[in-house]
């Protein structure tokens, strides 16, 4: 599976990373070389193997339904690149 320039642009757009036209070719080369190296995994027989998601081999603990957090809007907003009063602000979105 080799990535073409259109796929590179699609992945960049899905990743929300702006890629200039003159970067596409080198990205294509780098990603294809990594993916080519990863192809070795096709040698492994994985028939009947259950996928393993994570390192923790246990079931999930549950929290009590108690309000223990929140109530500090100033701290939530203090790092915002742009804010308007108690709101975060972004360029206007058309739905």
């Amino acid at each position: 599976m080799s990535l073409d320039p259109a796929t590179i642009r699609r992945i960049a757009s899905l990743s929300r990373i702006r890629v200039e036209e003159d970067q596409v070719e080198s990205l294509q080369h780098e990603l294809n070389s990594i993916l080519g190296w990863i192809e070795q995994l096709n040698e492994v027989n994985v028939d009947g193997i259950e996928p393993l998601t994570g390192g923790a081999q246990m079931a999930m603990r549950m929290r009590d339904d108690v309000v223990t957090d929140g109530g500090y809007p100033e701290q939530i907003l203090s790092n915002a690149p742009d804010r308007n009063g108690e709101f975060f602000a972004v360029p206007k979105v058309v739905e």
Binding site: G54, A59, D69
Partner: protein, 484 residues
Amino acid sequence: MTIYAIEGSTGPWEVVVGLEVHAQVISNAKLFSGSATTFGAEPNTQVSFVDAAFPGMLPVINREAVAQAVRTGLGLNAVIHKVSRFDRKNYFYADLPQGYQISQFEHPIVGTGVIEVELSDGSTKSIGVTRLHLEQDAGKSLHDQHPTKTFIDLNRSGVALMEIVSEPDIRSPEEAGAYLRKLRSILRYLGTCDGNMEEGSMRADVNVSVRKHGEPYRTRCEVKNVNSIRFVMQAVEAEAARQVEVWESGGTVVQETRLFDSNRGITRPMRSKEDAHDYRYFPDPDLLPLVLDEDWIAGLKAALPELPDAKQARFRAEYGLTPYDAGVLVAEKATAAFFETVARGRDAKIAANWVTGDFFAALNRTGATIETSPVSADNLGALLDLMADKTINGRIAKDVFEAMVETGKTPAEIVEERGLRQVTDTSAIDAAAAAILAANPDKVADYRSGKDKLFGFFVGQTMKAMAGKGNPALINETLKRLLG
């Protein structure tokens, strides 16, 4: 059963609808954080660092949110999955702080179930539930506060939602409405969602396609976030009509996400979702499998309240109500409870008539709810008792009821204050009836020459002369005797 169809230039089209309902879980804290969920708080006050997706923040699941999903699944007669899992649905949006929504894609907590709906022609229909899963809500974008900016409030970010997905079994706007009303009723009975569509705690994504009878499904479009039952019904109609027009004019319906414009009654494509078809779902590595204990599920099941279908069946069996009356009375838990208080130890059919008739009319007229009604169930029951023991007659009862609505007093107080006791003294009735006959000699003659219908006139006049308080049976008896 009446079959709904859209008449196009090429003939009738069948409408195929599936609904994805997002129901906000009733819980104190959010699905994966400890912040509050109350509606209407100041912007960004009910937000933790977890909800705002600050670096290094991690989710921990709320047990009550899980319990609410299980209760709802049980209420939908659905399969509860003892092992489920959370996945990330990846997309960028300004009010989605993590850049992904934690949801359940491959392994939802609840599997297939079913909802029975009643239709206006008296028929019932089973609509399949495909699944119910738990997920996080996003924040809120405000687009109209500033000329060039969108404002973001994250209070809702991370609130627990149940997404309840129906099978594409719905075939008309009416069925869509009936499904939503029934689902909302079940959620409210269970206490798992308040069903308040105005506050956004219940929203529907409406999947619509059209086809010629007997065809396989054609391409569907999803109308997102419709926030009232009426608008859902209108959106089905508008979107189906649009698709019929596209097909009939030789075009092709493309799968897309649309919005319903309730002012213009049309749907339009949703710009911000243009490229959102690749969500890159994968298991959330910050969370572990959700494994439910069998005894815990059994405990939740044992504590479930009686649900609308069971209650309706019981009302029909126990009180002899018609399916329609029973259906109306069980739609809201509070109404059903009100009715049962009125009906207990009394004639249930009369109780049902009063509750669905005069009582509902009074609520409508005054804008009151069952909870704020000036007429309590006990007082309405007492009114029925006054009729049963002949203290008042049915006509006076209507007046007493209106006075109860106005004043909130008990019927006994009103009857006493206003002297509305029924007159059963035969000499008073004799006197009143004789006076009416004496005042209308020509009508008496007409009656005697065969105009039977005039009997009602004499009854009415006598009752009127007695200010409505005469016992109707005694008046009849007396007039028959005097005219006979």
